[in-house]
Symmetry: C2
Subunit: 262 residues, 2 copies
């Protein structure tokens, strides 16, 4: 398939690479900065770099927007696409409706959302990554499904409401967990200790959560309603008021999930 | 070494097994319930089961208390040990001082705390587990160090204050993270989705946290001070008041760690 990339950040970089790897060809790569578009194009050995959004002469079928969430609307407004194009964005938090302006011009629209975080330095194994696709045109949905299935076995049709929920759940499961590890790390540093100490325990906790589900796997003083330990921990956080609040709310939430005597 | 186990729960079970595996012999196993002590003794093919705390005739050097935290004090009160015994507990949250009553009777005391969570069904690879040891007697500390080093390369001398800090950090890093995964799982279930979707993302988050440390690895709307997404997420949690509080406090704590403009 002929594909054009709109964006040259981490997501564009990884998607373009895997598209090429799977036998697709990249026609154009857009970036506001021509240098960035050229960097990606020379890395791929494919794709014409451009810093304007006029794709009206492009031979591509699929146009993939992979820019920051708050830049999508402006891109859509200025985009010129050939008549039979399919335009998708790759964002977890944005509705398909942000592409409506293109649809009004007769362009088919959709979403192609890989559920992973990307760093430029690190090669990604797409075969393990869920890809969430959405389109109200059945031919476009089929095309996205085919493309996604060439990258991974985990392809899901996900509507915009579900995708927003996935994004919210990921904030809890990933962003917030990472912050808890940051807190743990600082708490240990004050005693001259390292977070590496807790790595085996964190790995085991994660393994168990996916083996038997996190709800039955829950342990700890809040789960046991062990008020003595809770109050000792609470007191020991006097120097760290915001972490004390985190401790208090997380413990309250655990106790609500496992009411005493149940 | 001759070792006696006081307790027959998960920790006692795993420690006894690995002690035997490494060539030590188990002299006695105590449980309040003789049946439980016998179950462990027959599993090991070693150790005399008993349901009383009189070890005065024991040939063991080391006595390992592996009972629930709130049962330790009562065990120590009723324990009868031979004169040259070394008594240790295995708890992360209890000070060494809970053994003082034994020390007053001339017994040496210490702590032998394996930093892992144990399930009866699952074999544990001790070689990857940090073991925290403590004793104010240098000969006893040496003996504990030797025993710990026969199980793992990660042996640390940790005082009671540090051990309490490790336990607190583990509550943040493990118990609370697991609860966040439970929340994410329920949020997804309401949309007909499964937590398994997020597994690659969670694994990548964890990997990155240990690769570059969790603080620089932090991502997400709170880290970016992306108020639009924060307020959308906040609104979408109206039906789940306690999780809304979790979202609010976690986001506030992240924003405090990464002040705007820094």
């Amino acid at each position: 398939m002929q594909i054009s990339l709109i964006g040259s950040g981490n997501v564009a970089w990884h998607l373009a690479s895997v598209f090429v790897e799977k036998g697709n060809s990249i026609a154009e790569i857009y970036s506001r900065s021509l240098v960035n578009a050229q960097a990606l194009s020379s890395e791929l050995g494919a794709g014409v770099a451009q810093d304007h959004l006029d794709f009206s002469q492009s031979l591509s079928k699929l146009f993939v927007i992979a820019v920051k969430d708050d830049a999508i609307a402006e891109v859509v407004e200025n985009l010129k696409l050939p008549k039979d194009a399919l335009l998708v964005h790759t964002s977890g938090s944005q509705s398909i409706e942000i592409l409506n302006q293109a649809q009004e011009k007769g362009i088919e629209i959709g979403v192609f959302y890989p559920l992973q975080t990307f760093s430029k330095a690190k090669k990604v194994d797409f075969s393990q990554i869920p890809i969430c696709i959405e389109s109200s045109h059945s031919a476009s949905l089929d095309l996205l499904k085919q493309l996604a299935q060439s990258l991974t076995v985990h392809v899901l049709e996900i509507n915009s409401k579900q995708r927003k929920r996935i994004h919210l759940a990921a904030v809890f499961a990933c962003n917030f967990s990472n912050h808890l590890w940051a807190i743990a790390s600082e708490l240990l540093q004050y005693e001259g200790l390292s977070l590496a100490l807790l790595k085996p325990l964190i790995l085991e906790t994660l393994e168990k959560a996916f083996e038997i589900q996190p709800k039955p796997a829950q342990t700890g003083p809040a789960r046991r309603h062990d008020f003595q330990t809770l109050s000792e921990h609470f007191k020991s956080l006097d120097e760290f008021p915001i972490w004390k609040q985190v401790y208090q709310v997380m413990s309250a939430s655990i106790q609500e999930m496992y009411p005493l005597g149940k």
